[in-house]
Symmetry: C2
Subunit: 223 residues, 2 copies
């Protein structure tokens, strides 16, 4: 077990950042802020000697990440049965355009988690986890959406991942060019990137009088 | 070896999509279009019994994907030495808001690749690959940026990944609700999402008279 003291996630041999150590973040809140801003992770584990990887939505409740999927999903099934998971959340913040090809980079914030997951079987716990996943995707949504039925819950696998062995890595700011390159007449800088939301597209079968919910308008998050 | 006939990537047992088969794409050009639109992948392999995963930029030359990183990078080093890689590229196109929690989904396009990579040692081949990676990130950029020196090339590991065992999965369109749910007075639809570029941020040390290059303005890609 990893000791959590003063809000730090104590790095293990696996989560100690070895290159660009200045980009490492072991602060739990910093890692959680990245997890909370993203909503899609890549989760991988070994099944029959092959690394299987899925992109999937997630939620967070306290010190646990929650993943869900079809009951037969390869990665989640293996995770529920005790296979070790590696989960990465990556936010891309911009292209870093240096004067040299070599020093081009990306601004990003990422978290990598190594964990053994627990399968959530209890229907109430499962429903709570699914609510967290949908709320993570779009806060406010579960007040409107019909909750899962018992049958829907049995069709869904939910696994819970402890956030004990995790590290964050952050690159921000402008290009870091070699001193001799700074005199080159090459534009250097950052092209910021972020996910933006477009205009909501209503389903053609929406009932008359049903309006676009206010929670779809989240300027701080999507624009 | 996978037979490539009529532009299809013949699915193997590992790349045959098993759930939501209607989302599967085995057409090589469809998969390449996804790879060409994205520019960050998640690459994973097993080292000492652990699945290591990195988010990293990539390029494509023909039927090969190119990854680069520090020479000592765990995942790339293992890949260069023959470890099998799993690489995923995921584009998130929107939140799919169904009337039921259960039918919430994401619109996305993803490609998963299983491959044994080849380490590129030849400096000329390496420079070509690095050019492809930077051009993939930002077409036009390598006409401006200083090319890598021999020393920079030795500091960089480049691996080449055959795109023979790959499959794409695409979810698009509106929510698919249960028939009984369509009558619920719940707004259903899609919130489109895409990466957008902000205003370029020039490095404070840019030489006088150096202007923002025209290739930074790519409305079709970033807006």
């Amino acid at each position: 077990m990893i000791v959590d003291r003063d809000g730090l996630i104590q790095p293990t041999a696996r989560t100690t950042v070895r290159r660009h150590k200045e980009r490492a973040e072991y602060d739990r809140q910093a890692a959680y802020a990245i997890l909370d801003e993203g909503f899609v992770c890549h989760a991988a584990c070994v099944v029959d000697g092959t690394v299987w990887m899925i992109p999937t939505a997630y939620g967070r409740i306290g010190d646990r990440l929650l993943l869900h999927g079809a009951a037969a999903n390869h990665v989640l099934k293996a995770a529920g049965e005790g296979a070790e998971l590696t989960v990465t959340v990556t936010l891309i913040d911009g292209l870093v355009l240096a004067r040299s090809t070599f020093n081009h980079s990306l601004n990003y914030r990422s978290v990598v988690i190594f964990a053994t997951a627990t399968d959530i079987a209890d229907p109430v716990d499962k429903a709570v986890a699914l609510t967290a996943i949908v709320e993570h995707m779009l806060p406010g949504r579960t007040a409107d959406a019909r909750p899962p039925t018992p049958i829907e819950l049995t069709k869904t696998r939910v696994v819970s991942i402890p956030l004990d062995e995790a590290s964050a890595k952050v690159r921000s700011g402008g290009p870091l060019d070699e001193e001799a390159d700074v005199e080159l007449p090459v534009w250097a800088g950052v092209l910021p990137l972020r996910p933006r939301a477009g205009t909501p597209i209503p389903d053609s079968a929406n009932q008359t009088g049903v309006v676009v919910p206010a929670y779809l308008d989240q300027p701080a998050r999507w624009s």
